[in-house]
């Protein structure tokens, strides 16, 4: 397989396995970056597994995964990662500044500090809207602020794409909107794409370029216009979903009944 246009995240006939179970297969798509992509699918359908494949934390059972034209392991510095459980108790004690800085130097042994790091830390903190919080400890931040700190940390190795695992899960509606705007802003102002695992498309729908959906044990990709489809979403969630388009051009999805 050749990938001359390297600015993509590409799967070619990938099957993902955990233990002896195939989680999903037939994963073939080529998503240009930077773009905003949602990953949807029921619990246990293998969304986190997909992120782990892209990060090189898991080998594909078959097929090839290419991240910006390289093997995932070699591309790990081009991806930022915000895991679902981004908050670890040990980080409580650190200040935002040190926590974010580790996104750059945390995987380096010895003591050398790269040039311009302080400016980069300041920029990352600024980009996520945490300016003024530098000297605060993580434990004195709200959940949403801690998440922003984790995003700032993931920006430190200057990734081309961020992988986020269910970042909307524990946010209230207003903070969901702010996060969607942040993801959009990173795309517009910094050319950083995002691949975001979500359960509800709505918060991110206005900015969405495409959707990876894990359905019936297969991984598919479709541009937003095709993926946001009543039949598809109804099949995916296992309960009736209605897609509404308002006169202003807004779209949203709504569950309209009960699972059979």
């Amino acid at each position: 397989m050749t990938s001359s246009a390297a600015a993509t995240i590409a799967l070619t006939d990938v099957a993902a396995r955990r233990g002896n179970t195939t989680i999903w297969d037939q994963g073939s798509f080529d998503i240009p970056q930077p773009s905003i992509t949602a990953v949807i699918g029921p619990n246990g359908s293998g969304k986190s597994t997909l992120l782990h494949l892209l990060l090189g934390l898991l080998e594909p059972y078959s097929g090839t995964v290419e991240v910006f034209g390289s093997e995932p392991r070699e591309a790990s510095e081009q991806l930022g990662f915000v895991p679902q459980s981004y908050h670890v108790p040990g980080s409580d004690y650190l200040t935002v500044l040190e926590y974010v800085r580790l996104g750059k130097i945390g995987n380096q042994f010895f003591w050398r500090s790269p040039k311009g790091m302080d400016q980069q830390v300041a920029d990352a903190i600024e980009a996520v809207g945490l300016a003024g919080y530098e000297r605060r400890r993580l434990r004195h931040l709200s959940g949403g602020e801690q998440q922003r700190a984790a995003i700032a940390q993931s920006l430190m190795n200057q990734p081309k794409t961020l992988l986020m695992d269910e970042p909307f899960a524990s946010l209230d509606v207003r903070h969901q909107q702010r996060l969607a705007e942040l993801i959009h802003g990173l795309r517009m102002d910094h050319s950083i794409g995002s691949l975001v695992v979500v359960h509800d498309l709505n918060p991110i729908l206005p900015y969405l370029d495409g959707v990876i959906y894990l359905l019936d044990g297969h991984a598919h990709y479709a541009p937003t216009s095709e993926a946001v489809d009543e039949d598809l979403l109804t099949h995916l969630y296992g309960c009736p979903v209605q897609v509404t388009r308002t006169a202003q051009g807004d779209i949203f999805t709504r569950v309209t009944g009960h699972a059979p």
Binding site: L79, G90, E98, L102, I105, G106, F109, W111, S154
Partner: protein, 278 residues
């Protein structure tokens, strides 16, 4: 009527303080405090206080077996704690499973230690030393092994400081960024085992918390920045050891009691007076 013994200042305290065995005690105690203060900072960040407690108990049969066999206590201890650390690293990181496995081995190890100490005829005094420490009996050969341990610990921290921090606070991200979290945890637990081996000889199996956990916990109440916290932690432990030895010479009481009292007192003061944002 029971007559309570009175605690008085010994008249020859200055002579005691400058005696050879005291100099040995100061060196051994300070080496241990430096190692414990530094490693302890990571123990707190990595949430491994229980592991340090467990390693001390796992070292207990090592020490009593050494007494039984007539080999150096440090050798017996370090063998058991390092093997224990490797076993703990291999049983993985899932907190609950790990703690249950560790706790079970801990209890077994303590029972084993009791058995060995019963078989050894001269045990009684020695076992008390293992349980509560006996800094005043520090030997030259102990000091040599302590110095080697401290060198290895400092070397590890100097090389792995950032990855140890990163795997403590963002383990999944660290793994995605190419760090071997399992290997780093193994390295860390082995250096912790070396530290515990020393700390047991200073304050005993039952009181290692006072040197490993209390100083860094106190430091973290006072500063959030990692390097200052690490050095403050070292400073608090060292101060407690020096203060403990001086007080023990003054009052002819075991240094362990004073060392633990000082670290506890500092922790209480820091808890009460800590800044709002700590």
């Amino acid at each position: 009527m029971i007559e309570l013994p009175t605690v008085t200042v010994q008249e020859n305290w200055l002579e005691i303080l400058t005696a050879d065995f005291m100099r040995q005690a100061f060196i051994g105690g300070i080496i241990t405090a430096v190692a414990a203060g530094a490693i302890g900072y990571f123990v707190i960040l990595r949430q491994q206080a229980f592991a340090s407690h467990a390693l001390a108990h796992i070292g207990f049969p090592g020490a009593t077996a050494a007494i039984l066999l007539g080999i150096p206590i440090t050798l017996g201890m370090v063998t058991f704690t390092v093997v224990g650390a490797i076993a703990m690293a291999l049983t993985g990181n899932r907190l609950n499973d790990r703690d249950i496995a560790t706790g079970t081995i801990l209890a077994f190890a303590t029972g084993l230690g009791l058995l060995f100490s019963n078989i050894a005829s001269t045990a009684a005094a020695n076992v008390q030393n293992v349980l509560f420490g006996n800094l005043l009996a520090t030997t030259t050969s102990q000091l040599i092994s302590f110095a080697v341990f401290l060198f290895l610990i400092c070397l590890t921290i100097a090389i792995c400081y950032r990855p140890l921090l990163f795997t403590s606070i963002s383990p999944e991200v660290a793994r995605a960024r190419g760090l071997h979290t399992g290997r780093l945890n193994l390295i860390f637990l082995v250096t912790l085992a070396l530290t515990i081996t020393m700390a047991v000889q200073v304050v005993g199996v039952l009181l290692v918390f006072a040197l490993i956990v209390t100083p860094p916990a106190t430091a973290l109440l006072l500063t959030a920045r990692s390097l200052p916290a690490l050095f403050l932690s070292i400073g608090i432990g060292t101060f407690a050891v020096i203060g403990g030895l001086v007080l023990s010479a003054l009052f002819n009481l075991p240094p362990t009691f004073f060392i633990v009292s000082i670290t506890t007192l500092l922790w209480v003061i820091a808890t009460i007076t800590r800044p709002q944002n700590a």
